[in-house]
Symmetry: C2
Subunit: 259 residues, 2 copies
């Protein structure tokens, strides 16, 4: 079976499967994005999470926290108020941890080139921990990842280690991250639409392919003012990103100019 | 210039450059690993951080924290005690955040195949957020990333929001993560050595290539008992990993059996 046919088979198989997530459905905030990708023959999504605030009750050593073992005291994809957490914490008897987990998306791509386009869209949209996986049989998956999390131990052996005031302060931060995460998903959606349009144009007008086939080209031409909710410059991404990789210790030579 | 020659040129250029990190040198705990990689013609490292505990003083809105703008109150690659943080916090006048940042490594690879081998080593060693970047000019970089962090807001507008007891509790967790991070770097080093040996063997004995050219093959044959400090089974990785991706919502179909 040729590569395209095999990919089409994988896609049909995957999209026909039952959603195995605890929630059992795609999160509201990413439905459009997932549909946009799955409507394209070169992509299909294998998993997604729009972003969520989680309260976990782990073992008495929080280091041992495992999603599959520990108890989920609270999970929400919407902003969260102190009382939700205070009430949920009453059920904690181990080491409870509050997490903000940003948007995560895994997309299987027909060819490496398709993954590269999606990867540059992800980077341009602020998802700077995104990366490609290429399996032995050539399965090519782009993981869209942000660095934009929060992980805060709250209790030890069931004893609350922080004040209610702190939980309130913490949730303000978590809710802000949730808001910014939503903006980034919009940015990713818009950036992806532009990239796919450019790709379609370049196929129908090969002459302008050179000019339009890279969101990197476009980045340099777009002014920050026009960037809101759109594909934006790397500089803006850095301004928006609570981003470890802005530390030169981490990014030396990672994205050279000619990348 | 052919691909190999161009890669050799990039490698020579990169390794001759001054280290631009704040520290100005490779972290002690990853020197051997970096040397092992740079001794191979198909790899060179472009950046690394062994893992560290960081205390940052951000803007009055912690969401705006940016490494390049904010003040580093404390950074250590060794376990940390409460008093270090308490003293450093006296200098905080914005929103101070304590972070544990795990091992990060970026390796430029001559070919996608080289990156795939390194990627499977990284996944087998517990670095499950690792991923490949392929640039327009074919520059192929593997980023080795863990999910194993900590990000805890401690003060707001210079006011400490937690108790000293909490900071002590938090540092115990951060120090445990530092320890586990070190073990994972060792595991990565050992797993990489085995993978590189297998690769060399398979080149000198093409007949056994099929049997030995994948750490995935090996994973299935290795018993957990033999795994300590070595390349380990995915199951062990999950046990060891404080791993968001163990949630089915996140990993559905990401690593199918035939991956």
């Amino acid at each position: 079976m040729d590569r395209s046919a095999e990919f089409a088979r994988w896609k049909a198989q995957c999209l026909s499967k039952v959603d195995l997530s605890r929630k059992g459905s795609v999160d509201e905030d990413v439905v459009e994005l997932v549909q946009l990708l799955n409507a394209r023959e070169q992509f299909f999504t294998t998993s997604s999470c729009a972003g969520r605030i989680l309260l976990l009750d782990g073992g008495i050593n929080s280091f041992e926290v495992q999603k599959q073992n520990c108890c989920w005291l609270l999970v929400t994809h919407k902003p969260c108020v102190k009382d939700d957490v205070i009430i949920a914490l009453r059920k904690a008897n181990g080491d409870a941890i509050l997490k903000f987990e940003p948007f995560v998306l895994h997309v299987q791509c027909r060819q490496l080139q398709d993954a590269q386009i999606l990867h540059s869209v992800a980077i341009d949209s602020g998802f700077r921990n995104s990366g490609i996986t290429v399996g032995k049989r050539g399965k090519t998956i782009l993981a869209v990842r942000s660095t934009h999390g929060l992980e805060v131990p709250l209790s030890h052996k069931g004893k609350l280690m922080v004040t209610e005031e702190y939980i309130d302060f913490l949730l303000n931060i978590a809710n802000q991250k949730m808001e910014e995460n939503k903006k980034r998903i919009e940015r990713f959606y818009n950036c992806l639409q532009h990239a796919l349009e450019r790709e379609t144009d370049s196929k129908s007008h090969p002459k302008i392919k050179e000019k339009n086939n890279s969101s990197y080209t476009q980045k340099k031409n777009r002014s920050p003012e026009k960037a809101h909710g759109k594909c934006i410059t790397e500089e803006n991404v850095k301004e928006l990103e609570n981003e470890d990789d802005d530390d030169p210790e981490i990014i030396v030579n990672i994205f050279p100019d000619d990348y």
